[in-house]
């Protein structure tokens, strides 16, 4: 068997982000190629291009030497490419059998042959060695089993190329064992496997070659047998953002303790304890789903705290809603600016005044002049590029949108003592990023305590005064800026 898939010079530009640039590699039949990279390195975009979901701006994919031009996921499926995403694409109310054979139900003249459907499903389930009833609605299965159904779906299609995106993220050990057995069987049958994962140990177990992506570029490829973890981590991180960090004007005078969490637990985080001083920038590093956003939400009163306590500004607090937290002086810039941070189709002015409407009241009505002044001062302070305070936030660039949110929490009408920034530089250009770093340091100089959550290792270890690393809802380590390196933070973030 000499089948292969070849990526040649793949490039993709999203507004403001070079997602992929000139990525070329080749995967062989009967082998598994692992794709490795930090968050945002371009792995997901590459998979989306492979599945026909996203079209590349440049470059091409060829299978067995035949160039492919996928216009839609259906094209990719027809060409023999199955991509299994983390987000399951199942119909929860449909049975296991119906989901596995979706789009290709056995039968004649549009009438489904349920006997054959059940028998063929039972055969596949048997191959996997799992105890799953073909008639069970998928939505009633545990998440891990649903993930396995998704994998069976791809197995059933018998595609030549099968790509997995973090397949083990929601699987238990026993299912991982099944998955690896199936992948080995697929390899033996001459399939081409592309395997995306953060988990180095898995990559060593299952892959034959490893391609490392960084900032949308292919750094290098390794033969799995001839490489080691240290080498891979170095390839994933090694980058230099120049003098940006060295030139930051930082705060060096910390005050007393502003925030202390003691054994904090919610549905998503486990016994989290830490303290933050006034004027300190505390970084939270970790991988996707490490529980950092959930920790922020717990402190902010948005998620229910199950046990443990929070001491803020000298007293124990228990916020019932973000409104209470805001009244106490806490501000949150959420990770997803567009979904959670901004009201996109309202003006800059409306977005900035959101938490302080009560203070803009004069008798019954909002004081329009004060409202306008508030927005204008934020526009000036942060240099928001706009024709006026009336402009819709949707019309601004990502960086300027982020500045609107910062302006919201630092206006003259609000006294923010603790600022929680969740991925504040996500999707914004490099120049604005540098500005945001300095703005963060300026907050600290005013005595504001800053929680800085970021999945970009370089920025979090260079901007924060101290770094806490999270994994699986727990804090797995603490490092001072001086001792933090991308390698040791990543090691903590991926520790088993």
């Amino acid at each position: 068997m000499d089948g292969h898939i070849e990526f040649t010079g793949i490039g993709k530009l999203f507004p403001g982000v070079q997602a992929l640039a000139d990525v070329s590699f080749r995967a062989e039949s009967g082998q598994a190629l692992a794709l490795l990279g930090e968050n945002g390195a371009g792995k997901s975009t590459l998979l989306k291009i492979l599945s026909g979901d996203v079209r590349p701006d440049s470059g091409a994919i060829s299978i067995d030497g035949r160039p492919q031009n996928f216009q839609s996921p259906l094209d990719a499926l027809r060409a023999g490419v199955s991509v299994i995403y983390q987000e399951r694409q199942l119909v929860p109310t449909g049975s296991v059998a119906e989901n596995i054979f979706a789009g290709d139900l056995p039968g004649r003249f549009g009438i489904v042959d349920y006997g054959a459907l059940r028998a063929r499903t039972a055969e596949i389930v048997g191959k996997f060695g799992l105890n799953i009833d073909p008639d069970e609605p998928v939505g009633r299965l545990p998440i891990a089993r649903q993930q396995m159904v998704e994998i069976m779906k791809a197995y059933r299609r018998d595609s030549a190329v099968i790509a997995f995106d973090e397949p083990t993220a929601s699987l238990t050990d026993s299912e991982i064992a099944v998955l690896f057995r199936i992948i080995r069987e697929m390899k033996a049958n001459g399939k081409i496997i592309i395997y995306v994962s953060h988990r180095l140990s898995e990559i060593f177990q299952i892959s034959d070659r490893i391609a490392v992506l960084k900032d949308g570029r292919l750094v290098t490829t390794f033969e799995t047998s001839a490489s080691n973890e240290d080498e891979l981590i170095r390839a994933m991180v090694g980058r230099d953002l120049g003098d940006t960090y060295a030139n930051l004007s930082r705060n060096d005078k910390f005050g007393d303790t502003l925030l202390e969490a003691r054994e904090l637990e919610t549905e998503y985080i486990r016994k989290v304890s830490f303290a933050l001083r006034r004027g300190e920038v505390l970084g939270f590093a970790g991988l996707v789903g490490a529980g950092r956003t959930e920790l922020a939400r717990a402190i902010f009163g948005a998620d229910r705290v199950l046990s443990g306590s929070v001491i803020f500004n000298g007293e124990e607090v228990s916020f019932k809603s973000p409104k209470d937290a805001i009244a106490a002086g806490i501000a949150l810039c959420p990770e997803d600016r567009k979904e959670q941070g901004l009201v996109l189709f309202r003006s800059i002015r409306d977005n900035i005044a959101m938490p302080v409407l009560q203070k803009l009241k004069r008798l019954l009505f909002l004081d329009r002049r004060a409202d306008q002044k508030l927005a204008e001062s934020a526009i000036e302070r942060y240099g928001i590029r706009t024709t006026g305070a009336d402009k819709l936030v949707a019309e601004l660039s990502g960086g300027n949108q982020q500045k609107v949110i910062l302006g919201r929490w630092t206006s003259e009408k609000i006294e923010t003592k603790l600022l929680i920034l969740d991925e504040p530089t996500k999707g914004i250009d490099v120049g604005t990023k540098a500005e945001v770093y300095q703005i963060i340091c300026d907050f600290a100089k005013q005595g504001i305590g800053v929680i800085f959550i970021s999945s970009e290792l370089t920025e979090v270890i260079n901007v924060a005064d101290r770094i806490l690393v999270m994994k699986g809802g727990r804090i797995t380590g603490e490092l001072a800026r001086a001792e933090a390196t991308e390698e040791n933070v990543l090691a903590l973030a991926m520790s088993e």
Binding site: F14, A19, P355, L364, F365, D390, T425
Partner: protein, 346 residues
């Protein structure tokens, strides 16, 4: 927004489009109506008079739509309030004022139930309010035994039937305009009004910025039901009786007017001024079309067509920019600008 000279800027607005549409409708019917009857003072007075009940419904529907919600029960609930009033007043001799208060309290319960089901039990607003509407309708039938109940109170009936200034300014119209003025100020100038727009635009972002979307939802459903009740009472006053069908079929009229006037179905946009204009257009259209002798069923077809035209207008003109921005937003959202940490939660 870029500052253009006054008139040029105005021609780009939704208001201008609506005024054009109104002018067009008036012109067409002025020509088509036999004997130029459409523009005769009597017809105009009739038209304005007929608007008053729907105007109250338009306001209630408009506020809810801005917040991103919908209330289909309002017509039936309004009818019920008229029935409850007539039963209390005519059947049990309860004086007018207490009878009005009790009937509004009854309909307020429906508003509260709608809000409770939607906010506490997370049911779909569309289906929930349809169900409570059926409930209210059934209760109305049971209470009045399927017959109209006459209301013999000059004071009460004056609201819907009397006019001042030589008979040219109906009291009900004064009330309707007063409501538009008050709600216009409420929506445009107060903290509460601003919060409604913000919640309608993005409930999650509003919640994370200290605005309570649930409180707004409760208030607006109560408001919708009570305004529905007022409209029902106004209608009963005009008819001098509580009729069985009452204003049950008018839920859609209020919503149609609001949407026609530029209040977005998805929430967060539009205003009371536009809603008033939408109502005037709708009333002129309905009045005109019955004036030129088109059979009633065809009138309904024409009303439906008008709404469709208004909606496509909306998408083709103003919305084009918004849709383009939304597409960009979606594309950026799909971009790998970084990590998504954890599950998206509201």
């Amino acid at each position: 927004m870029e500052k253009k000279s006054g008139f040029r800027a105005f021609t780009g607005t939704k208001t201008f489009t609506l005024l054009l549409l109104l002018a067009f409708i008036v012109a067409i019917f002025a020509i088509l109506t036999p004997g130029g009857g459409f523009l005769k003072p009597r017809n105009i007075k009739n038209m304005i008079n007929g608007m008053s009940v729907n105007s109250i419904l338009t306001i209630g529907a408009g506020c809810l739509l801005v917040s991103g919600q919908i209330d289909l029960s309002v017509g039936a609930v309004g009818t019920l309030s008229g029935v409850v009033f007539a039963l209390l007043f005519t059947g049990y001799g309860v004086p007018v004022i207490p009878a009005v208060i009790i009937s509004l309290a009854v309909v307020a319960v429906f508003g509260f139930i709608n809000a409770l089901l939607i906010n506490r039990f997370h049911t779909q607003g569309f289906i929930t309010t349809m169900a409570t509407g059926l409930l209210a309708q059934g209760l109305g039938y049971i209470l009045d035994g399927g017959k109209a109940i006459a209301i013999k109170s000059d004071a009460f009936n004056a609201v819907g039937t009397k006019s001042i200034f030589g008979g040219y300014l109906p009291i009900s119209v004064i009330i309707a305009f007063a409501f538009f003025a008050v709600y216009g100020l409420l929506m445009g100038r107060t903290k509460f009004g601003r919060s409604i727009y913000l919640v309608g635009g993005n409930p999650t972002a509003s919640y994370l910025s200290g605005i309570d979307p649930k409180r707004i939802s409760y208030t607006l459903f109560l408001n919708s039901a009570i305004l529905g009740g007022l409209a029902g009472l106004m209608y009963a006053s005009r008819m001098k009786s509580a009729t069985q069908s009452g204003i049950t079929n008018s839920s859609f009229a209020g919503m149609t007017a609001a949407i026609l006037g530029g209040i977005s179905f998805g929430g967060g946009a539009g205003g009371m001024g536009g809603a008033l204009l939408g109502l005037i257009i709708l009333s002129a259209f309905n009045n005109g079309i019955s004036g030129i002798g088109i059979p009633p069923y065809w009138q309904q077809v024409a009303s439906g067509a008008l709404l469709l035209v208004a909606l496509s207008f909306d998408y083709l003109s103003l919305r084009r920019k918004e849709l383009a921005l939304r597409r960009d937003a979606a594309r950026i959202h799909a971009a790998p600008g970084g990590a998504t940490d954890g599950n998206p939660k509201a």
